[in-house]
Symmetry: C2
DNA sequence: CGCGTTATTGAGGCCGGTCAAACCATGTGG
DNA sequence: CCACATGGTTTGACCGGCCTCAATAACGCG
Protein backbone atom coordinates (compact mmCIF):
# COMPACT_ATOMS: atom_id res chain seq x y z
CA UNK A 1 0.00 0.00 0.00
CA UNK A 2 2.83 2.39 0.73
CA UNK A 3 4.08 2.02 -2.80
CA UNK A 4 0.78 3.40 -3.95
CA UNK A 5 1.27 6.51 -1.87
CA UNK A 6 4.24 7.53 -3.92
CA UNK A 7 2.72 6.49 -7.21
CA UNK A 8 1.29 9.64 -8.76
CA UNK A 9 -2.40 9.58 -9.56
CA UNK A 10 -1.94 10.61 -13.12
CA UNK A 11 -5.57 11.04 -14.06
CA UNK A 12 -5.76 14.80 -14.55
CA UNK A 13 -9.24 15.05 -13.06
CA UNK A 14 -8.03 13.54 -9.83
CA UNK A 15 -4.98 15.76 -9.74
CA UNK A 16 -7.22 18.77 -10.08
CA UNK A 17 -9.59 17.56 -7.39
CA UNK A 18 -6.67 16.96 -5.09
CA UNK A 19 -5.36 20.47 -5.67
CA UNK A 20 -8.80 21.88 -5.09
CA UNK A 21 -9.28 20.02 -1.82
CA UNK A 22 -5.78 20.94 -0.63
CA UNK A 23 -6.65 24.56 -1.22
CA UNK A 24 -9.51 24.16 1.25
CA UNK A 25 -7.78 22.18 3.97
CA UNK A 26 -4.33 20.61 4.40
CA UNK A 27 -5.05 16.94 3.74
CA UNK A 28 -3.07 14.24 5.46
CA UNK A 29 -1.02 11.81 3.41
CA UNK A 30 -3.53 9.07 4.07
CA UNK A 31 -6.38 11.25 2.88
CA UNK A 32 -4.55 12.37 -0.23
CA UNK A 33 -3.98 8.73 -1.02
CA UNK A 34 -7.66 8.03 -0.48
CA UNK A 35 -8.52 10.68 -3.05
CA UNK A 36 -5.87 9.45 -5.47
CA UNK A 37 -7.29 5.98 -5.07
CA UNK A 38 -10.43 7.09 -6.87
CA UNK A 39 -8.41 7.08 -10.08
CA UNK A 40 -8.11 3.32 -9.84
CA UNK A 41 -11.82 2.75 -9.42
CA UNK A 42 -13.88 1.63 -12.38
CA UNK A 43 -15.46 4.66 -14.02
CA UNK A 44 -19.08 4.54 -15.08
CA UNK A 45 -20.66 6.37 -17.96
CA UNK A 46 -24.06 7.98 -18.33
CA UNK A 47 -25.51 9.18 -21.60
CA UNK A 48 -26.64 12.75 -22.15
CA UNK A 49 -30.13 13.80 -21.12
CA UNK A 50 -30.61 11.09 -18.56
CA UNK A 51 -32.08 11.48 -15.12
CA UNK A 52 -29.13 10.58 -12.99
CA UNK A 53 -31.12 10.82 -9.79
CA UNK A 54 -34.73 11.48 -9.02
CA UNK A 55 -35.68 14.07 -6.43
CA UNK A 56 -35.62 12.74 -2.89
CA UNK A 57 -33.82 9.61 -3.94
CA UNK A 58 -30.78 8.73 -1.89
CA UNK A 59 -27.68 7.30 -3.51
CA UNK A 60 -23.96 6.99 -2.80
CA UNK A 61 -21.79 10.04 -3.51
CA UNK A 62 -20.29 10.36 -6.95
CA UNK A 63 -17.24 12.15 -8.26
CA UNK A 64 -17.90 13.64 -11.64
CA UNK A 65 -14.85 13.05 -13.82
CA UNK A 66 -16.07 14.39 -17.13
CA UNK A 67 -19.20 15.97 -18.56
CA UNK A 68 -21.76 18.44 -17.26
CA UNK A 69 -24.94 17.79 -15.30
CA UNK A 70 -27.51 19.91 -13.51
CA UNK A 71 -30.03 19.99 -10.73
CA UNK A 72 -33.38 20.76 -12.20
CA UNK A 73 -36.99 21.34 -11.29
CA UNK A 74 -39.86 20.96 -13.71
CA UNK A 75 -43.16 22.73 -13.12
CA UNK A 76 -46.38 20.84 -13.82
CA UNK A 77 -46.93 22.71 -17.08
CA UNK A 78 -43.47 21.93 -18.37
CA UNK A 79 -41.57 25.07 -17.46
CA UNK A 80 -38.10 24.06 -16.44
CA UNK A 81 -35.71 25.72 -14.02
CA UNK A 82 -32.12 24.65 -13.73
CA UNK A 83 -31.10 25.15 -10.13
CA UNK A 84 -27.37 24.70 -10.48
CA UNK A 85 -24.74 23.04 -12.62
CA UNK A 86 -22.46 20.13 -11.83
CA UNK A 87 -19.06 20.32 -13.48
CA UNK A 88 -16.12 17.96 -13.75
CA UNK A 89 -14.42 17.61 -10.40
CA UNK A 90 -17.64 18.17 -8.50
CA UNK A 91 -18.87 15.71 -5.94
CA UNK A 92 -22.54 14.81 -6.08
CA UNK A 93 -24.08 13.87 -2.76
CA UNK A 94 -22.40 13.51 0.56
CA UNK A 95 -23.46 10.09 1.76
CA UNK A 96 -26.12 11.77 3.88
CA UNK A 97 -29.07 13.93 2.90
CA UNK A 98 -27.81 17.05 1.19
CA UNK A 99 -28.54 19.29 -1.72
CA UNK A 100 -28.20 16.28 -3.99
CA UNK A 101 -31.36 14.74 -2.55
CA UNK A 102 -33.41 17.91 -2.96
CA UNK A 103 -33.59 18.07 -6.73
CA UNK A 104 -33.63 15.77 -9.65
CA UNK A 105 -30.18 15.54 -11.26
CA UNK A 106 -29.92 15.29 -15.03
CA UNK A 107 -26.95 14.75 -17.28
CA UNK A 108 -26.49 17.47 -19.89
CA UNK A 109 -23.73 15.68 -21.76
CA UNK A 110 -22.30 12.21 -21.61
CA UNK A 111 -20.82 11.78 -18.13
CA UNK A 112 -17.97 9.82 -16.65
CA UNK A 113 -18.05 9.31 -12.89
CA UNK A 114 -16.83 7.09 -10.10
CA UNK A 115 -18.23 6.15 -6.74
CA UNK A 116 -16.85 8.49 -4.12
CA UNK A 117 -18.08 6.67 -1.04
CA UNK A 118 -14.51 6.17 0.07
CA UNK A 119 -14.16 9.89 0.70
CA UNK A 120 -16.98 10.27 3.17
CA UNK A 121 -16.19 8.80 6.54
CA UNK A 122 -17.99 9.06 9.83
CA UNK A 123 -18.50 12.28 11.69
CA UNK A 124 -14.85 12.79 12.65
CA UNK A 125 -13.44 16.24 12.21
CA UNK A 126 -10.70 15.40 9.71
CA UNK A 127 -9.12 17.80 7.21
CA UNK A 128 -10.76 15.91 4.35
CA UNK A 129 -14.15 16.23 5.99
CA UNK A 130 -13.56 19.97 6.36
CA UNK A 131 -12.55 20.28 2.72
CA UNK A 132 -15.66 18.43 1.61
CA UNK A 133 -17.81 20.66 3.77
CA UNK A 134 -16.20 23.70 2.22
CA UNK A 135 -17.05 22.29 -1.19
CA UNK A 136 -20.63 21.85 -0.08
CA UNK A 137 -20.67 25.42 1.17
CA UNK A 138 -19.48 26.65 -2.20
CA UNK A 139 -22.51 24.99 -3.74
CA UNK A 140 -24.77 26.86 -1.38
CA UNK A 141 -22.97 30.10 -2.25
CA UNK A 142 -23.69 29.37 -5.91
CA UNK A 143 -27.33 28.95 -5.01
CA UNK A 144 -27.30 32.31 -3.31
CA UNK A 145 -25.77 33.90 -6.40
CA UNK A 146 -28.43 32.25 -8.51
CA UNK A 147 -31.17 33.78 -6.38
CA UNK A 148 -29.70 37.25 -6.78
CA UNK A 149 -29.31 36.78 -10.51
CA UNK A 150 -32.85 35.60 -11.06
CA UNK A 151 -34.40 38.03 -8.66
CA UNK A 152 -32.75 41.32 -9.42
CA UNK A 153 -30.56 41.21 -12.51
CA UNK A 154 -31.15 41.92 -16.19
CA UNK A 155 -30.51 39.32 -18.83
CA UNK A 156 -26.97 40.37 -19.68
CA UNK A 157 -26.06 40.67 -16.01
CA UNK A 158 -27.29 37.14 -15.39
CA UNK A 159 -25.34 35.80 -18.31
CA UNK A 160 -22.18 37.56 -17.21
CA UNK A 161 -22.49 36.18 -13.70
CA UNK A 162 -23.03 32.64 -14.85
CA UNK A 163 -20.10 32.77 -17.24
CA UNK A 164 -17.84 34.08 -14.50
CA UNK A 165 -18.99 31.29 -12.23
CA UNK A 166 -18.20 28.73 -14.91
CA UNK A 167 -14.80 30.20 -15.52
CA UNK A 168 -13.89 30.19 -11.84
CA UNK A 169 -15.09 26.65 -11.29
CA UNK A 170 -13.51 25.25 -14.42
CA UNK A 171 -10.25 26.99 -13.64
CA UNK A 172 -10.28 25.34 -10.23
CA UNK A 173 -10.85 22.04 -12.02
CA UNK A 174 -7.99 22.70 -14.43
CA UNK A 175 -10.35 22.99 -17.42
CA UNK A 176 -10.11 26.69 -18.18
CA UNK A 177 -7.28 29.13 -18.59
CA UNK A 178 -7.11 32.70 -19.73
CA UNK A 179 -10.87 33.04 -19.52
CA UNK A 180 -11.30 30.39 -22.18
CA UNK A 181 -13.20 27.15 -21.71
CA UNK A 182 -15.54 24.65 -23.30
CA UNK A 183 -19.20 25.04 -22.37
CA UNK A 184 -21.14 22.08 -23.74
CA UNK A 185 -24.57 23.61 -23.27
CA UNK A 186 -27.33 24.47 -25.68
CA UNK A 187 -28.85 27.91 -25.47
CA UNK A 188 -32.02 26.31 -24.26
CA UNK A 189 -30.19 24.99 -21.22
CA UNK A 190 -28.67 28.39 -20.54
CA UNK A 191 -32.10 29.95 -20.87
CA UNK A 192 -33.60 27.51 -18.39
CA UNK A 193 -30.82 28.27 -15.95
CA UNK A 194 -31.14 32.02 -16.24
CA UNK A 195 -34.92 32.18 -16.24
CA UNK A 196 -35.09 33.53 -19.78
CA UNK A 197 -36.57 32.41 -23.08
CA UNK A 198 -34.25 30.88 -25.66
CA UNK A 199 -34.94 33.71 -28.04
CA UNK A 200 -34.03 36.40 -25.59
CA UNK A 201 -31.00 34.50 -24.38
CA UNK A 202 -29.78 34.28 -27.93
CA UNK A 203 -30.14 38.00 -28.47
CA UNK A 204 -28.42 38.72 -25.17
CA UNK A 205 -25.48 36.54 -26.13
CA UNK A 206 -25.17 38.26 -29.47
CA UNK A 207 -25.26 41.65 -27.85
CA UNK A 208 -22.45 40.67 -25.50
CA UNK A 209 -20.41 39.39 -28.40
CA UNK A 210 -21.01 42.58 -30.32
CA UNK A 211 -19.79 44.58 -27.34
CA UNK A 212 -16.62 42.50 -27.24
CA UNK A 213 -17.31 41.19 -23.76
CA UNK A 214 -17.13 37.56 -24.77
CA UNK A 215 -16.38 35.40 -27.77
CA UNK A 216 -18.19 32.23 -28.70
CA UNK A 217 -16.97 29.75 -31.30
CA UNK A 218 -18.74 26.46 -31.37
CA UNK A 219 -18.99 25.51 -27.74
CA UNK A 220 -15.90 27.38 -26.64
CA UNK A 221 -16.34 30.56 -24.66
CA UNK A 222 -13.72 33.23 -24.15
CA UNK A 223 -14.21 35.96 -21.63
CA UNK A 224 -12.56 38.95 -23.26
CA UNK A 225 -13.11 41.58 -20.59
CA UNK A 226 -13.24 39.88 -17.26
CA UNK A 227 -13.13 43.08 -15.28
CA UNK A 228 -16.05 44.56 -17.15
CA UNK A 229 -18.00 41.34 -16.77
CA UNK A 230 -17.39 41.32 -13.04
CA UNK A 231 -18.59 44.82 -12.73
CA UNK A 232 -21.67 44.08 -14.81
CA UNK A 233 -22.57 41.00 -12.82
CA UNK A 234 -21.41 42.24 -9.42
CA UNK A 235 -19.54 38.99 -9.22
CA UNK A 236 -16.70 38.08 -6.93
CA UNK A 237 -14.75 34.87 -6.50
CA UNK A 238 -16.12 32.52 -3.85
CA UNK A 239 -14.77 33.08 -0.36
CA UNK A 240 -12.34 30.52 0.96
CA UNK A 241 -14.31 29.69 4.06
CA UNK A 242 -12.85 26.40 5.08
CA UNK A 243 -15.08 24.77 7.61
CA UNK B 1 -29.82 18.76 37.46
CA UNK B 2 -32.27 15.91 37.22
CA UNK B 3 -34.99 18.11 38.66
CA UNK B 4 -34.53 20.39 35.72
CA UNK B 5 -35.20 17.58 33.34
CA UNK B 6 -38.72 17.24 34.58
CA UNK B 7 -39.29 20.96 34.89
CA UNK B 8 -41.12 22.02 31.76
CA UNK B 9 -39.44 24.71 29.70
CA UNK B 10 -42.47 26.90 29.63
CA UNK B 11 -41.30 29.45 27.10
CA UNK B 12 -43.55 28.64 24.15
CA UNK B 13 -40.81 29.31 21.59
CA UNK B 14 -38.62 26.69 23.19
CA UNK B 15 -41.46 24.21 23.39
CA UNK B 16 -42.07 24.68 19.69
CA UNK B 17 -38.40 24.31 18.85
CA UNK B 18 -38.22 21.16 20.89
CA UNK B 19 -41.22 19.71 19.09
CA UNK B 20 -39.72 20.65 15.78
CA UNK B 21 -36.38 19.04 16.54
CA UNK B 22 -38.05 15.91 17.92
CA UNK B 23 -39.91 15.60 14.66
CA UNK B 24 -36.57 15.40 12.90
CA UNK B 25 -34.73 13.05 15.22
CA UNK B 26 -35.53 11.39 18.56
CA UNK B 27 -33.52 13.51 20.98
CA UNK B 28 -32.05 12.01 24.10
CA UNK B 29 -33.18 13.28 27.49
CA UNK B 30 -29.89 15.07 27.94
CA UNK B 31 -30.25 16.81 24.60
CA UNK B 32 -33.83 17.82 25.24
CA UNK B 33 -32.67 19.33 28.47
CA UNK B 34 -29.91 21.17 26.64
CA UNK B 35 -32.50 22.71 24.34
CA UNK B 36 -34.82 23.54 27.20
CA UNK B 37 -31.90 25.19 28.93
CA UNK B 38 -31.92 27.91 26.30
CA UNK B 39 -35.06 29.26 27.94
CA UNK B 40 -33.03 30.18 31.00
CA UNK B 41 -30.40 32.09 29.06
CA UNK B 42 -30.52 35.87 28.90
CA UNK B 43 -32.35 36.96 25.77
CA UNK B 44 -30.97 39.79 23.69
CA UNK B 45 -32.92 42.24 21.60
CA UNK B 46 -32.15 43.83 18.26
CA UNK B 47 -34.09 46.72 16.76
CA UNK B 48 -35.75 46.53 13.36
CA UNK B 49 -33.72 47.28 10.24
CA UNK B 50 -30.37 46.50 11.75
CA UNK B 51 -27.58 44.56 10.16
CA UNK B 52 -27.37 41.62 12.49
CA UNK B 53 -24.38 40.17 10.69
CA UNK B 54 -22.27 41.32 7.81
CA UNK B 55 -21.51 38.97 4.95
CA UNK B 56 -18.59 36.66 5.63
CA UNK B 57 -18.55 37.56 9.27
CA UNK B 58 -18.44 34.64 11.64
CA UNK B 59 -20.41 34.68 14.89
CA UNK B 60 -21.84 32.22 17.39
CA UNK B 61 -25.13 30.53 16.50
CA UNK B 62 -28.33 32.25 17.58
CA UNK B 63 -31.79 30.98 18.27
CA UNK B 64 -34.38 33.42 17.07
CA UNK B 65 -37.11 33.63 19.70
CA UNK B 66 -39.28 36.38 18.25
CA UNK B 67 -39.32 38.63 15.21
CA UNK B 68 -38.41 38.21 11.57
CA UNK B 69 -35.07 38.67 9.84
CA UNK B 70 -33.68 37.96 6.40
CA UNK B 71 -30.56 37.19 4.46
CA UNK B 72 -30.06 39.87 1.90
CA UNK B 73 -27.80 40.95 -0.92
CA UNK B 74 -27.55 44.50 -2.18
CA UNK B 75 -26.30 45.24 -5.67
CA UNK B 76 -23.93 48.17 -6.18
CA UNK B 77 -26.70 50.34 -7.62
CA UNK B 78 -29.01 49.72 -4.70
CA UNK B 79 -31.19 46.93 -6.01
CA UNK B 80 -31.92 44.58 -3.15
CA UNK B 81 -32.62 40.87 -3.19
CA UNK B 82 -33.83 39.05 -0.14
CA UNK B 83 -32.39 35.57 -0.25
CA UNK B 84 -34.43 33.96 2.48
CA UNK B 85 -36.33 34.72 5.64
CA UNK B 86 -35.50 33.86 9.24
CA UNK B 87 -38.53 33.19 11.42
CA UNK B 88 -39.03 32.60 15.13
CA UNK B 89 -37.66 29.22 16.10
CA UNK B 90 -34.99 29.33 13.43
CA UNK B 91 -31.35 28.88 14.27
CA UNK B 92 -28.94 31.29 12.66
CA UNK B 93 -25.49 29.90 12.03
CA UNK B 94 -24.09 26.57 13.01
CA UNK B 95 -20.89 27.37 14.84
CA UNK B 96 -18.99 26.66 11.64
CA UNK B 97 -19.17 28.27 8.20
CA UNK B 98 -22.66 27.83 6.82
CA UNK B 99 -25.32 29.71 4.95
CA UNK B 100 -25.29 32.29 7.72
CA UNK B 101 -21.80 33.43 6.74
CA UNK B 102 -22.66 33.77 3.06
CA UNK B 103 -25.03 36.71 3.23
CA UNK B 104 -25.60 39.75 5.30
CA UNK B 105 -28.40 39.19 7.83
CA UNK B 106 -30.80 42.02 8.59
CA UNK B 107 -33.57 42.30 11.13
CA UNK B 108 -36.95 43.13 9.60
CA UNK B 109 -38.69 43.66 12.92
CA UNK B 110 -37.50 43.95 16.46
CA UNK B 111 -35.88 40.62 17.37
CA UNK B 112 -35.45 38.60 20.52
CA UNK B 113 -32.75 35.94 20.44
CA UNK B 114 -30.44 33.89 22.63
CA UNK B 115 -27.03 32.40 22.11
CA UNK B 116 -27.41 28.82 20.89
CA UNK B 117 -23.77 27.76 21.18
CA UNK B 118 -24.77 25.13 23.70
CA UNK B 119 -26.57 23.18 20.97
CA UNK B 120 -23.66 22.69 18.63
CA UNK B 121 -21.16 20.19 19.87
CA UNK B 122 -18.23 18.57 18.14
CA UNK B 123 -18.54 16.30 15.17
CA UNK B 124 -20.24 13.43 17.00
CA UNK B 125 -23.17 11.83 15.28
CA UNK B 126 -25.80 12.53 17.94
CA UNK B 127 -29.56 12.77 17.38
CA UNK B 128 -29.44 16.49 18.10
CA UNK B 129 -26.69 16.98 15.54
CA UNK B 130 -28.82 15.12 13.02
CA UNK B 131 -31.86 17.24 13.80
CA UNK B 132 -29.83 20.42 13.38
CA UNK B 133 -28.47 19.18 10.07
CA UNK B 134 -32.02 18.45 8.93
CA UNK B 135 -32.94 22.00 9.86
CA UNK B 136 -30.02 23.26 7.81
CA UNK B 137 -31.15 21.12 4.90
CA UNK B 138 -34.61 22.64 5.07
CA UNK B 139 -33.02 26.04 4.61
CA UNK B 140 -31.29 24.81 1.49
CA UNK B 141 -34.58 23.41 0.23
CA UNK B 142 -36.11 26.85 0.73
CA UNK B 143 -33.29 28.29 -1.34
CA UNK B 144 -34.07 25.83 -4.10
CA UNK B 145 -37.73 26.84 -4.01
CA UNK B 146 -36.70 30.46 -4.19
CA UNK B 147 -34.66 29.79 -7.32
CA UNK B 148 -37.61 28.12 -9.02
CA UNK B 149 -39.94 30.94 -8.00
CA UNK B 150 -37.69 33.69 -9.28
CA UNK B 151 -36.63 31.86 -12.39
CA UNK B 152 -39.82 30.43 -13.77
CA UNK B 153 -42.92 31.66 -11.98
CA UNK B 154 -45.30 34.55 -12.50
CA UNK B 155 -45.89 37.13 -9.80
CA UNK B 156 -48.98 35.48 -8.30
CA UNK B 157 -47.31 32.07 -8.34
CA UNK B 158 -44.32 33.45 -6.49
CA UNK B 159 -46.52 35.08 -3.90
CA UNK B 160 -48.54 31.92 -3.39
CA UNK B 161 -45.39 29.86 -2.91
CA UNK B 162 -43.90 32.24 -0.40
CA UNK B 163 -47.11 32.44 1.62
CA UNK B 164 -47.33 28.66 1.73
CA UNK B 165 -43.75 28.49 2.91
CA UNK B 166 -44.48 30.98 5.67
CA UNK B 167 -47.56 29.09 6.74
CA UNK B 168 -45.70 25.78 6.91
CA UNK B 169 -42.77 27.21 8.82
CA UNK B 170 -44.88 29.21 11.24
CA UNK B 171 -47.12 26.26 11.87
CA UNK B 172 -44.06 24.22 12.77
CA UNK B 173 -43.09 27.01 15.13
CA UNK B 174 -46.54 27.09 16.69
CA UNK B 175 -47.28 30.55 15.29
CA UNK B 176 -49.90 29.75 12.69
CA UNK B 177 -53.06 27.71 12.62
CA UNK B 178 -55.80 27.29 10.12
CA UNK B 179 -53.78 29.04 7.47
CA UNK B 180 -53.79 32.22 9.53
CA UNK B 181 -50.68 33.99 10.76
CA UNK B 182 -49.04 37.35 11.38
CA UNK B 183 -46.65 38.48 8.66
CA UNK B 184 -44.84 41.61 9.86
CA UNK B 185 -43.48 42.60 6.44
CA UNK B 186 -43.95 45.66 4.33
CA UNK B 187 -44.85 45.17 0.70
CA UNK B 188 -41.45 46.51 -0.21
CA UNK B 189 -39.83 43.63 1.64
CA UNK B 190 -42.07 41.13 -0.08
CA UNK B 191 -41.23 42.71 -3.43
CA UNK B 192 -37.51 42.46 -2.76
CA UNK B 193 -37.91 38.82 -1.84
CA UNK B 194 -39.96 37.94 -4.90
CA UNK B 195 -37.96 39.95 -7.41
CA UNK B 196 -40.85 42.30 -8.18
CA UNK B 197 -41.50 46.01 -7.91
CA UNK B 198 -43.58 47.22 -4.99
CA UNK B 199 -46.24 48.46 -7.35
CA UNK B 200 -46.66 45.17 -9.09
CA UNK B 201 -46.54 43.24 -5.86
CA UNK B 202 -49.34 45.39 -4.54
CA UNK B 203 -51.51 44.72 -7.56
CA UNK B 204 -50.74 41.02 -7.37
CA UNK B 205 -51.79 40.90 -3.74
CA UNK B 206 -55.02 42.70 -4.51
CA UNK B 207 -55.78 40.35 -7.35
CA UNK B 208 -55.31 37.35 -5.07
CA UNK B 209 -57.59 38.91 -2.48
CA UNK B 210 -60.20 39.62 -5.11
CA UNK B 211 -60.08 35.99 -6.18
CA UNK B 212 -60.62 34.89 -2.60
CA UNK B 213 -57.34 33.05 -2.40
CA UNK B 214 -56.11 34.96 0.61
CA UNK B 215 -57.25 37.59 3.07
CA UNK B 216 -55.12 40.37 4.46
CA UNK B 217 -56.08 42.52 7.41
CA UNK B 218 -53.35 44.65 8.83
CA UNK B 219 -50.40 42.33 9.01
CA UNK B 220 -52.43 39.17 9.41
CA UNK B 221 -52.68 36.81 6.47
CA UNK B 222 -55.25 34.09 6.04
CA UNK B 223 -54.87 31.50 3.35
CA UNK B 224 -58.43 30.85 2.27
CA UNK B 225 -57.88 28.20 -0.40
CA UNK B 226 -54.77 26.30 0.48
CA UNK B 227 -55.31 23.63 -2.13
CA UNK B 228 -55.69 26.17 -4.91
CA UNK B 229 -52.63 28.03 -3.70
CA UNK B 230 -50.60 24.85 -3.70
CA UNK B 231 -51.64 24.07 -7.19
CA UNK B 232 -50.84 27.60 -8.35
CA UNK B 233 -47.42 27.61 -6.75
CA UNK B 234 -46.59 23.94 -7.34
CA UNK B 235 -45.74 23.87 -3.67
CA UNK B 236 -45.36 20.87 -1.45
CA UNK B 237 -44.42 20.56 2.21
CA UNK B 238 -40.72 20.08 2.87
CA UNK B 239 -39.56 16.46 2.91
CA UNK B 240 -38.65 14.98 6.25
CA UNK B 241 -35.15 13.96 5.30
CA UNK B 242 -33.52 13.51 8.64
CA UNK B 243 -29.80 13.37 8.23
C1' DC C 1 -52.99 66.53 15.21
C1' DG C 2 -49.09 66.36 12.07
C1' DC C 3 -45.62 63.87 9.99
C1' DG C 4 -43.20 59.80 8.07
C1' DT C 5 -43.95 55.43 6.43
C1' DT C 6 -46.73 52.37 3.83
C1' DA C 7 -50.38 51.23 0.64
C1' DT C 8 -52.85 52.23 -3.53
C1' DT C 9 -53.90 53.95 -8.10
C1' DG C 10 -52.97 55.74 -12.86
C1' DA C 11 -50.31 56.27 -17.16
C1' DG C 12 -46.90 55.04 -20.16
C1' DG C 13 -42.85 52.44 -21.56
C1' DC C 14 -39.52 48.66 -21.92
C1' DC C 15 -37.67 44.13 -21.14
C1' DG C 16 -38.41 40.00 -22.20
C1' DG C 17 -42.07 36.37 -23.74
C1' DT C 18 -44.48 33.94 -27.53
C1' DC C 19 -45.22 32.43 -32.10
C1' DA C 20 -43.42 31.28 -36.35
C1' DA C 21 -40.25 30.75 -39.86
C1' DA C 22 -35.72 30.49 -41.86
C1' DC C 23 -31.14 29.04 -41.43
C1' DC C 24 -27.44 25.92 -40.21
C1' DA C 25 -24.79 21.91 -38.75
C1' DT C 26 -24.66 17.11 -38.16
C1' DG C 27 -25.70 12.63 -39.03
C1' DT C 28 -28.16 8.76 -41.40
C1' DG C 29 -29.56 5.82 -44.85
C1' DG C 30 -30.45 5.03 -49.64
C1' DC D 1 -22.82 11.66 -52.73
C1' DC D 2 -27.05 13.42 -52.02
C1' DA D 3 -31.89 13.59 -49.89
C1' DC D 4 -33.67 13.91 -45.79
C1' DA D 5 -34.39 14.20 -40.83
C1' DT D 6 -33.06 16.22 -36.56
C1' DG D 7 -31.72 19.43 -33.19
C1' DG D 8 -29.81 23.83 -32.48
C1' DT D 9 -29.30 28.81 -33.70
C1' DT D 10 -30.86 33.03 -35.53
C1' DT D 11 -34.38 36.52 -37.07
C1' DG D 12 -38.67 39.05 -37.31
C1' DA D 13 -43.14 40.61 -35.64
C1' DC D 14 -46.05 41.26 -32.06
C1' DC D 15 -47.66 41.07 -27.40
C1' DG D 16 -47.93 41.38 -22.39
C1' DG D 17 -46.18 41.19 -17.72
C1' DC D 18 -43.85 43.91 -15.09
C1' DC D 19 -41.27 48.36 -14.29
C1' DT D 20 -40.92 53.39 -13.64
C1' DC D 21 -42.51 57.68 -12.49
C1' DA D 22 -45.66 60.27 -10.04
C1' DA D 23 -49.33 61.44 -7.23
C1' DT D 24 -52.85 60.39 -3.80
C1' DA D 25 -54.87 57.94 0.15
C1' DA D 26 -54.37 55.50 4.43
C1' DC D 27 -52.04 54.25 8.45
C1' DG D 28 -49.43 54.40 12.68
C1' DC D 29 -47.11 56.85 16.06
C1' DG D 30 -45.13 60.54 18.98
Amino acid sequence: MSCLVTAPADAPEIVALLARLRGLAPLTEEEAERVAGLARLPARETAARQELRAEGQSAPPLLLLAGWACRVHILPDGRRQIISFLLPGDIIGRGRPSLAELCSINSLTRLRHVDASSLVTGGEETPLARALRALELQEVAQLRDQVVRLGRQMAHERMAGLLLEFEARLTAAGLASGGCFAMPLTQEVLADALGLSVVHLNRTLQQMRREGLIALKGRVVTLKQTAALRSIADWQPPPRLAG
